[in-house]
Amino acid sequence: MKSIKRLKYLLLFVILLGVLLFSIDWIISFGARHVNVSDLGKINLIFNHRVDPDIMIFGASDAEWGFDAPELQRLTHRTVYNGAIDGTHYRQLACLIDEFAQYATHNRAVILSLGPFALRARMGVREIERYLPVIGNQNVYESLYDMDADLAFKCRYIPFYKYTEVSSNYYRQSFEGWKTYIKSRRQGFPLDTMLGYVPDPQAWQRAPKNATNDASNVPIDKFTYQVLADLIRELRSKGKKVIVLVSPFHQSGVALIKNWEQIRSGMQALGAMADYYMDFSTSTLTTQKDYFRNSFHLNANGSKVFASILAEQLNRILK
């Protein structure tokens, strides 16, 4: 009985500890929800309905580093935002695009950028920490749940579990989010100055090891293809012009992919469902190493040149 009575001290400790942990959780989550830069910031901006440009870009790293949004904005005289997220496949991006399609009223065109690996099957959720501030959103939760039910459930419903999934970067960004909040709480939630674009100043380097290893054969995943087809349909139904764009990548990258023509025809088929199809995989850019950081990614220099080429075409389309 004595032992049972002493349990109340332990219980009190657990309650106090719980209060402390929930407070820390609130502080971190609040900061993370107010991040407006980086991939985490893009997701926040979209789910806070703060981005509604004339031209919206979605995609993975090839788009994030390859579409110079400020330059495109300058050249097209239209608002542009780069909503691409590094390393993220369209299955995971779908909830983001879907949310954007629901609320964006000003937007006229959406570019779906397809890198050479965009149609490949990818398992699991990539960097769930970017989605944690908005995991309470049913659209996000269901999308993540489809990819990794166990992880999505635990991150949403089990207190503090999400912290087993985050890197120290998440805390740093949360701190930045607090700074943004304090600075701009009167103006609301500002966009970042680079408009989602991440310039990469690096000169040519070898391709990442995993990219070159995977490159020999890149089978098309039917499910990913279907997700993209559905997204195109949905965006068009909301009155947006959809541009399916094969992003430029260096010709050495083509040599690494055995079934590139097959992938390309898959992308063409998707392009046929969209309003416009642009293929930059054979553009003159792709022969010059100066414009690339590696076989699959433009560098800052290349993205500036690419922006001028793309802007010309966009100006023609969006007249």
């Binding site: 004595k2 032992s3 049972i4 002493r6 349990l7 332990l10 400790f13 106090l16 500890l17 402390l20 942990l21 820390i24 971190i28 635990k154 089990i158 503090f160 579990y161 912290y163 087993t164 999934e165 120290s168 805390y171 690096q202 380097q205 990442p208």
Partner: protein, 488 residues
């Protein structure tokens, strides 16, 4: 199910609550079921192999006890040992042996006809095999009565806190505990939870964070400078210590909450003044097992050899210890190096004692500690790499400070970031601060012989526990890092 997983947290809470809610007579069955579930979480089919050896040992134990005459008893003991060692040899050493046979064949220009088998090592095989063997040996020696209750005997082998990586218990210590009536005890709960907390902290905050740096360097040793290799080797010493002692603390703690006392497996081994002392403080349950069942019988059998009997016993014991740790020549070499060191220390006892009298005590102690730690760091390189040539390359490079670029710790990553062993600079210094902080805390515990938070007021103590929980949740690394000793 890993001790550092959310699944284990739920499992532990459910099993512990049920344990105290159930009447005493039903508790063994709950623990056995829980242990089966815990084991089957890794690879369920292997439960049948475990049940087979449990059944053989259970039956052999009874037969050994009831047999008349030493020869008859010995026959049953040998049967039990063959069953245990046979399973261990097949799962752990078949491919190793076959690989060596292939090497011999290819030297002679032939192809090895024996096939390579894709075998997954059952979790904790070396641990529970040794524990099972200690049972039949103790029954044979007459130090332990044969256990008549099959469920209790199965629980002795399978008790979940120590199933995956020990401590390797003795029947005299564990079997009576399973028969005892356990009452809920607040002190046991607090001691157990504290041990678990400290163990998880060591694993997820220190060991797994350090592992990120160590793995980066060991993943591509030729890319890194000698300074980096040396630092990685030193950090590995802390990683393996925090990893394994962390596991042991969680095991001891989770058993203690239910009122079971498992044997202590670590006693601050990194501060040992000799390799001999290190083996009294590192993986104590294995060291004492090898001492009782291997070293002592050898020394007694060869007692006519005088000092050489001890040397021979030590070398055989450490050879087996190396092999026990892993089916690779690097482990054997690691074991042999330790055997040589302990043998040297045994043979040089007198001159070293004379030196200790001449030198100031602090100087002698500090020198011994540094030399012992240096020896451990070097030998663990073989333990970590799994390749003799790579190990020698690391030693050659790491201990050549005059080489050009030796102190160049920064490494330029593909995305042009400057990193130190895979970390941004500030993160690297944070990790180093964590390691140094841990070493200081561990030293204080070692010196005071008491858990560090016991030396402060109650308020501070609870605040300390809260801080540990916060560090674990917000600073822990939880991704896929199995405990190092699970592979053995």
């Amino acid at each position: 199910m890993l001790f550092n997983s959310f699944g284990f947290l739920v499992f532990f809470i459910v099993v512990t609550c049920l344990y105290f809610l159930l009447p005493n007579r039903a508790r063994w069955s709950l623990l056995l079921l829980a242990s089966c579930f815990f084991y089957m979480f890794f690879k369920w089919e292997y439960i049948f192999i475990l049940l087979f050896t449990i059944a053989v040992d259970y039956y052999a134990g009874i037969k050994i006890e009831s047999a008349e005459g030493v020869e008859r008893k010995r026959k049953w003991l040998i049967l039990s040992l063959i069953a245990n060692i046979g399973v261990l040899a097949f799962f752990k050493y078949y491919n190793f042996l076959n690989g060596n046979i292939s090497g011999l064949y290819s030297l002679l220009g032939y192809k090895n006809p024996i096939p390579y088998l894709h075998i997954i090592l059952p979790i904790g095989l070396s641990f529970h095999t040794f524990q099972a063997m200690s049972y039949t040996i103790e029954v044979f020696r007459g130090h332990q009565n044969a256990e008549r209750h099959f469920g209790i005997y199965a629980l002795y082998v399978m008790f979940y806190p120590q199933l995956a990586a020990g401590p390797i218990e003795r029947p005299q210590h564990m079997l009576p505990q399973f028969h005892e009536r356990k009452q809920f005890d607040y002190d046991n709960l607090i001691i157990g939870l504290r041990l678990m907390l400290w163990g998880i902290f060591k694993k997820v905050v220190i060991a797994d964070r350090v592992a990120m740096a160590v793995d980066t360097v060991y993943g591509d040793v030729h890319e890194y400078s000698g300074g980096c290799l040396l630092l990685a080797a030193i950090l590995y010493a802390f990683q393996i210590y925090c990893d394994f002692s962390g596991y042991s603390d969680i095991a001891l703690g989770s058993a203690r909450v239910m009122g079971f006392n498992l044997m202590r497996n670590f006693d601050h081994p990194l501060y040992s003044k000799s390799v001999t002392e290190f083996w009294r403080k590192w993986h104590i349950s294995l060291s004492t097992w090898l001492y009782d069942y291997l070293y002592l019988p050898i020394v007694i059998a060869k007692r006519d050899w005088n000092k050489f009997a001890v040397a021979f016993g030590l070398m055989v014991t450490f050879f087996i210890s190396g092999l026990w740790h892993g089916a690779a020549w690097t482990f054997v070499f690691w074991g042999v190096l330790h055997g040589l060191a302990v043998t040297y220390e045994f043979l040089s006892k007198k001159p070293r004692n004379r030196l200790a009298k001449v030198l100031p005590n602090w100087l002698y102690s500090a020198t011994c500690r540094i030399l012992t730690l240096a020896f451990l760091v070097i030998t663990w390189i073989f333990f970590r790499t799994g390749s003799m040539s790579q190990s020698f390359y690391i030693i050659k490079t790491a201990f050549n400070p005059l080489a050009k670029g030796y102190f160049h710790l920064m490494y330029r990553e593909l995305n042009d970031d400057l990193t130190i062993m895979g970390f941004a600079r500030w993160k690297f210094f944070a990790v180093m601060l964590g390691v140094v902080g841990f070493a200081v805390a561990d030293w204080l515990i070692y010196k005071k012989r008491q858990f560090i938070l016991f030396q402060v007021s109650q308020g501070l103590r609870w605040a300390g526990y809260a801080l540990l929980v916060i560090c674990i949740i917000f600073m822990g690394v939880f991704h896929s890092n199995q405990f190092i000793y699970f592979q053995f």
